[in-house]
């Protein structure tokens, strides 16, 4: 079993210093914000949607290395995907990229905050368009 400190490998540390897709989008199609009340991680995700595709995605906010690395990876995965594919993203798609599948329970919320924000953001976009949008809300609220 790997120790907790092993999670701080090069990729995580690099992403925390140089996060991908960091910034804001003016007039985004979708904007959603959430935070973790106990630790203070705070993430905003902005997306531009063109013909059902996420043509651009950026994020801003503050967080620990785990949070920033996972948010970076998530935005890389989402960029260019259709809304339909973006909504199918699961937690292990993100955690797997960074070798964080066995992250300790108290830190999982750092890793999954951005996925929660993404799912809520997609829900807010689809709520009036898609009869099955509620499932996204369900998934978001039961992530951790």
């Amino acid at each position: 079993m790997s120790s907790n400190a092993d999670i701080y490998h090069e990729m995580i540390v690099d992403y925390s210093r140089h996060p991908s897709n960091f910034g804001k989008i003016e007039n985004p199609t979708i904007h959603y914000h959430d935070s973790n009340p106990l630790c203070g991680d705070s993430i905003d995700i902005y997306m531009s949607v063109d013909s059902d595709k996420v043509s651009d995605i950026k994020f801003s906010g503050r967080g620990c290395a785990i949070c920033l690395a996972c948010t970076s990876v998530l935005t890389e995965i989402v960029k260019g995907k259709t809304i339909e594919d973006a909504r199918k993203i699961q937690k292990n798609d993100v955690l797997g990229e960074l070798g964080l599948e066995h992250l300790q329970a108290v830190r999982i919320k750092c890793a999954l905050l951005s996925l929660k924000v993404l799912k809520y953001g997609l829900y807010s976009y689809l709520a009036s368009k898609d009869a099955n949008a509620d499932a996204l809300k369900q998934e978001a609220s039961s992530l951790y």
């Binding site: 907790n4 400190a5 701080y8 106990l38 630790c39 203070g40 620990c64 949070c67």
Partner: protein, 413 residues
């Protein structure tokens, strides 16, 4: 005389300090501002209660009820003596500091705060000394004002004068020691200013009572709140102390058993103090356990506690300040500071730092410490916080320092 006390001796009384964490690491417990560990004397007192004396209190006449009642009430007497409180009826048992402050906000505040009234607190308060006043002032259309802190993390008391000059201040609620910066508040000055202005003062003593001598008679505030679990006692026990005249005027907080004198279908009269504020079966076992904690602290002496913490905090501040990239918060004047050190380490987020050094068995706190107003003021998201108590050693500080250099390597500082 207590000249023979040593930290090694004290550590033997704390079973948890003997255990290993993260496989084979000695536990280095530096999260004492959150809660302290419990000596065997406290653990035994609770076990003894449930093993030999368990009963409800105050009503039944059988032998167990008598023993339980006597032990429960003896804690009240010990607290009175510990804090130099003249009247034991002024001591109300609650769940903790948070409940004590909420009790005042509800039972005193709703009677006394009206539209336009001001409640003053400070920028370094714990959420428990902010949110109850937000709820109250929102309900009553009052106003909440903050005394700001300076670059040393000390209160700018001139601002209090300005608020008092408006003539609208009804209450000043301030902690005696910041749980983040460790700043010891000059409560004597605050209380004297407020007394002159005829303004009530509530002191949050959650961080002060465990760590230094507090004399309620000398202090002269109106309300005082603290928790047992931050001073070797069990969780779930705290105290509200208030002047008798205020407790008498205040409406009850909770209605139920034990707080009544007579109950009729449509009206009720209240029990005497302090029982008017102790509705329902209280936390009997833990109140009794708390007495053992007070005995323990009396035995080593609060002067020793304070002296030990000054020594270890000074040592830690000195070692930390030698590390490149460490940013320390709060004053370096130990006469104005308790055993709490908040810091940040270069660009390592406190949560990452806490996870890394946890591998070495070190327990520190990372986050906003329930003081988001202060975090906003300092313009940071979080800090790492090491906080000390009677059983911590300089060797443990060295373990922390070594572990920080491991974190530095991981983050290529």
């Amino acid at each position: 005389m207590q000249t023979t006390i040593s930290v090694e001796q004290i550590r033997k009384d704390f079973p948890i300090l003997q255990r290993k964490v993260r496989k084979d690491k000695n536990l280095v417990y530096l999260d004492n501002a959150a809660t302290t560990q419990k000596p065997i004397q406290v653990i035994n007192a609770i076990t003894d209660f449930y093993t030999n004396h368990n009963s409800n209190i105050h009503r039944a006449v059988h032998a167990l009820a008598e023993e339980a009642t006597e032990a429960y009430e003896m804690t009240r007497d010990k607290i009175a003596k510990f804090l130099n409180i003249k009247d034991r009826q002024e001591i109300v048992f609650v769940r903790g500091t948070t409940e004590a402050i909420n009790l005042v906000a509800y039972a005193w505040g709703r009677q006394n705060i009206r539209e336009g009234d001001i409640i003053v607190t400070t920028e370094y308060e714990h959420h428990s000394n902010i949110v109850p006043w937000q709820l109250l002032t929102q309900e009553k259309k009052g106003k909440l004002e903050y005394i700001a802190i300076d670059d040393n993390g000390e209160l700018i008391l001139d601002q209090l004068d300005q608020y008092l000059a408006t003539g609208k201040v009804k209450l000043v609620a301030v902690s005696q020691m910041s749980n983040v910066l460790g700043t010891i508040t000059d409560v004597a000055t605050i209380i004297s200013k407020c007394k002159k202005a005829g303004v009530r003062v509530l002191i949050d003593g959650a961080q002060s009572v465990p760590h230094m001598k507090v004399d309620m008679e000398a202090l002269g505030c109106d309300f005082f709140a603290f928790s047992g679990h931050k001073m070797l006692g069990p969780t779930g026990v705290g105290v509200l102390w208030a002047k008798k005249e205020l407790l008498e005027q205040m409406a009850p907080f909770h209605g139920g058993g034990d707080m009544i004198r007579e109950v009729h279908k449509y009206e009720t009269t209240w029990n005497d103090l302090p029982y008017k504020f102790e509705a329902g079966t209280p936390n009997i076992a833990d109140v009794i356990g708390f007495a053992a904690a007070i005995d323990y602290l009396n035995n080593i002496g609060m002067d020793y506690v304070r002296a030990h913490e000054i020594e270890i905090t000074k040592y830690a501040l000195d070692k930390l300040s030698q590390i490149n990239g460490i940013k320390l918060y709060g004053t370096s004047d130990m006469s104005k500071r308790g055993g709490v050190i908040s810091f940040n380490f270069a660009d390592i987020h406190p949560h990452d730092l806490a996870t890394i050094i946890d591998e070495d068995g070190i327990a520190i706190r990372s986050g906003h410490h329930c003081a988001q107003v202060l975090m906003e003021k300092l313009d940071i998201a979080a800090t790492s916080r090491a906080s000390f108590y009677i059983y911590n050693t300089k060797d443990e500080v060295d373990v922390l320092i070594n572990s920080l250099s491991r974190a530095a390597r991981l983050f290529k500082l």
